[in-house]
Amino acid sequence: MAARTLRPLILICDDELPLRELVKAVLGDGYRYVEAEDVEQAEEVLKESSPEAIVLDVMLPGKSGLEFLSELRAKGGGKAIPVIVVSAWQSADDQRTALKAGADAFVGKPFDPKDLASVVEALIAA
C-alpha cells in the first residue's frame, strides 16, 4: 500500500546541470528524482534502486547514452523500465538509432515542457 502511494522515481541522466534542473521543473513535484552525470553513475543508481522511468541524454562523457541503453536492454533486467531519450541530435537518423537501441520515446532538444511531461506521464501510466 505504501509503495502505491509513493511518488514514482525518475532517473535523469544528463551531464548538464541546467538540463537536469529543467527536467525536474517540467515534471514537477509529482515525481521523485535521482540524478546521474554519466553512464557509470546511472549504472550505480540502477544497482540500488529501480526507477519507474529514465530520462536519458545521448552525448555523455565516456560511454554514450545509447550504448548504455543497448546494454540495459540486452541484459533484460531493465526491460520494463520506460526510457525517454532526450538529445540535441534529432535528425530522423538519430531518432531511428535511439528507437532501435530500445528507447520508448524520443524528445529533441530544445523541447516544449508540456511535451516531455505528457510523454513521461503516458509511459509511466502504461
Binding site: E16, P18, L19, E21, L22, A25, V26, V58, M59, L60, P61, G62, K63, S64, A88, W89, K109, P110, F111, D112, P113, K114
Partner: protein, 492 residues
C-alpha cells in the same frame, strides 16, 4: 649504321679490286703466251737458217763451184733477219732471254766468221783438207751447240709463259673464291643491317608509341629507357620528364580534391557539432522561459530559473563569440598584444582553472624555480594552455594524473601537458593540427569543434614558437616551445 655500311662497301670493293687484278694478270699471261709463241717461231726460223748455213757449207766443201758458193754467201747473211726478230722477241720477255738471244747471234756470227769462212777459203785451195774428220767434227760440235742454244731460248720463253699463266690462273681462282664469298657475305650483311636497323630504330619507336598510349590511358608510371646516347635517348628523357610532371600534377589535383572533400566533411561535422553545442544551452533557455511564462511559480523558483536562463544565455553568447574568435585566428586575422611576463604563473593559473574542480583527475605540476620570462600575448597563450589542458581532460575520461610542466630548454621555454588517456591512433597523428579535424572524437561523443589545436598552432607560430606532441605508453604529451625574452630580444 655507318660502320656496318662501310664494312659491306669495303668487302665489295676488295672483291672487285681482286677481280681487276686477276683480269690484268690473265691478260699479261696471254701476252706472255703470245710472245712465247713469237719467240718459238723465231727460234724455229733461226734453227732452219742455221741448218741451211750448214747445208750450204757442206756443199761448198764437197764441190767448190760458183753456184754453191753463191748459196753459201746467201745463207751466211739471210739468218741475220730471223735472228734479229728472235732477239727483239726475247728482249720483250726478259733481260735474261735478251742476253741469250744476243749470245746466240754472236755464236752464229762467230761460226760463220771463225769457222765457215776459213773452211770456204781452205776448200778453194785444198778441198781434201777440209774434208778431214777433225775439221768436220769441230763444225758439227759448234753447230749442235748453236741448235741447242736456239732450242733453249724457245724453251725458256715457253716456261716463263707457262709460269705466268699458272700464276694468273691461281689468282683467277682466288678472285672467283672471293667473289663467291662476297656473294654470300653481302646478303648476310644486308640481313644483319636490317636486323640492326629494326633494333636501333623500329624497336625504340614501337616502345615510345606503346608508352605514349599508356600515358594517354592515364598510366603516368610508365618510363622509357633513357640510357641511350642517341636521339631516342633524348626523346626518352623528355618523355620521362613529361610523364613525371604529369604524374605530379595529377597527384596534386587528387590531393587538392581530397583535401577539399576532407574539409567539406569536416565542415559538415562542425556544423552538426556547433548546432549540438548551441542546442544544449538553448534547450535550458527555452524550457525555463516557457515554464516561467506558463506556470505560476513561487518567487524563489522564478529567481532560480531566471538565473539559469541568464547563465545559459551567457554561455551561448560565449560559445558563439569563441567560435568566431577561433575562425579569425584560424584565418590568421589577429594581432598579438605582447608584454613581458613569467610563463610559470600562466601555467599555474590555467592548471588551477581547468583542474581545480576536477575530481576525476590528479594534477602534477612541474615548474622550475627560476622565472621563464617571455614576451608574448598573455591572453592568447592562456588560450593555448587552456586548449591543451581541456583536451587532456576530455581525452582521458577514465581519469588519471595530468602532468603540467614548464622548463628552460636550449634558449626556449617549453610547456608540456601529459595525460594518461586514450592516446592518439597513428592514423590521426598527421592531421591533428588541421582545422575541424576531430579524428574519432565525434563518434566517441567527445564534444568540441576541432578548432582548439589548429588555433593553438596559429598562436604559437605567431610567437615564433613550435607546437607538437609525443605519444606515450599511456596517453599523450603535448608541448610547445616559445623563445625566451632574452633570445627574442637578441634576434630583433
Amino acid at each position: 649504321v655507318i660502320a656496318v655500311s662501310a664494312l659491306g662497301a669495303a668487302a665489295i670493293g676488295a672483291t672487285l679490286a681482286l677481280f681487276f687484278v686477276a683480269n690484268a694478270r690473265l691478260r699479261a699471261a696471254n701476252t706472255a703466251s703470245a710472245r712465247s709463241a713469237t719467240v718459238s717461231a723465231a727460234a724455229f726460223d733461226v734453227r732452219g737458217q742455221v741448218i741451211a748455213i750448214d747445208v750450204a757449207l757442206q756443199q761448198v766443201v764437197e764441190e767448190y763451184n760458183a753456184k754453191n758458193l753463191a748459196q753459201w754467201r746467201h745463207a751466211s747473211t739471210s739468218w741475220e733477219h730471223p735472228a734479229a726478230v728472235l732477239e727483239r722477241a726475247a728482249a720483250a720477255t726478259n733481260p735474261e732471254q735478251a742476253q741469250r738471244a744476243h749470245a746466240l747471234r754472236d755464236e752464229i756470227r762467230s761460226y760463220i766468221d771463225d769457222y765457215g769462212e776459213p773452211v770456204v777459203g781452205i776448200a778453194k785451195v785444198s778441198p781434201a783438207a777440209v774434208r778431214s774428220s777433225v775439221a768436220h767434227t769441230e763444225g758439227t760440235l759448234r753447230l749442235d751447240q748453236i741448235i741447242r742454244d736456239t732450242d733453249a731460248v724457245a724453251r725458256s720463253s715457253a716456261v716463263i709463259a707457262a709460269d705466268r699463266s699458272a700464276a694468273a690462273g691461281k689468282l683467277a681462282d682466288q678472285a672467283s673464291i672471293a667473289g663467291v664469298v662476297a656473294l654470300i657475305l653481302t646478303p648476310v650483311l644486308l640481313i644483319l643491317l636490317g636486323v640492326w636497323l629494326a633494333r636501333a630504330v623500329a624497336e625504340p619507336l614501337r616502345r615510345t608509341v606503346a608508352a605514349a598510349s599508356e600515358v594517354a590511358a592515364g598510366n603516368f608510371d610508365v618510363r622509357l629507357n633513357d640510357r641511350r646516347r642517341d636521339e631516342f635517348g633524348d626523346l626518352a628523357r623528355v618523355f620521362n620528364t613529361m610523364t613525371e610532371s604529369l604524374a605530379v600534377s595529377r597527384s596534386e589535383l587528387i590531393e587538392r580534391a581530397d583535401s577539399l572533400e576532407r574539409s567539406e566533411r569536416h565542415k559538415s561535422e562542425l556544423i552538426s557539432m556547433v548546432s549540438h553545442e548551441v542546442r544544449t544551452p538553448l534547450a535550458s533557455v527555452l524550457g525555463f522561459t516557457r515554464l516561467l511564462l506558463e506556470r505560476d511559480l513561487p518567487p524563489s523558483d522564478r529567481q532560480r530559473y531566471l538565473e539559469i536562463v541568464d547563465a545559459e544565455a551567457t554561455r551561448l553568447a560565449t560559445l558563439v563569440s569563441d567560435f568566431l574568435d577561433a575562425r579569425l585566428i584560424e584565418e590568421g586575422r589577429f594581432s598579438l598584444r605582447r608584454e613581458p611576463f613569467d610563463l610559470r604563473s600562466l601555467v599555474r593559473e590555467q592548471a588551477e582553472v581547468t583542474l581545480g574542480h576536477d575530481e576525476s583527475h590528479d594534477l602534477a605540476l612541474e615548474l622550475p624555480d627560476r622565472p621563464l620570462q617571455i614576451d608574448g600575448d598573455r591572453a592568447r597563450l592562456a588560450q593555448v594552455v587552456g586548449n591543451v589542458l581541456s583536451n587532456a581532460v576530455k581525452y582521458s575520461p577514465e581519469g588519471g594524473t595530468i602532468t603540467v610542466g614548464a622548463a628552460e630548454d636550449h634558449g626556449h621555454a617549453r610547456v608540456w601537458v601529459a595525460d594518461e588517456g586514450t592516446g592518439i591512433p597513428p592514423e590521426h597523428r598527421g592531421q591533428l593540427f588541421q582545422p575541424f579535424y576531430r579524428g574519432d572524437a565525434a563518434a566517441a561523443g567527445i564534444p568540441g569543434t576541432g578548432l582548439g589545436l589548429a588555433v593553438s598552432r596559429r598562436i604559437v607560430e605567431a610567437h615564433d614558437g613550435q607546437i607538437g606532441f609525443d605519444p606515450l605508453d599511456r596517453g599523450t604529451r603535448f608541448w610547445f616551445d616559445l623563445p625566451l625574452e632574452a633570445a627574442a630580444n637578441g634576434r630583433r
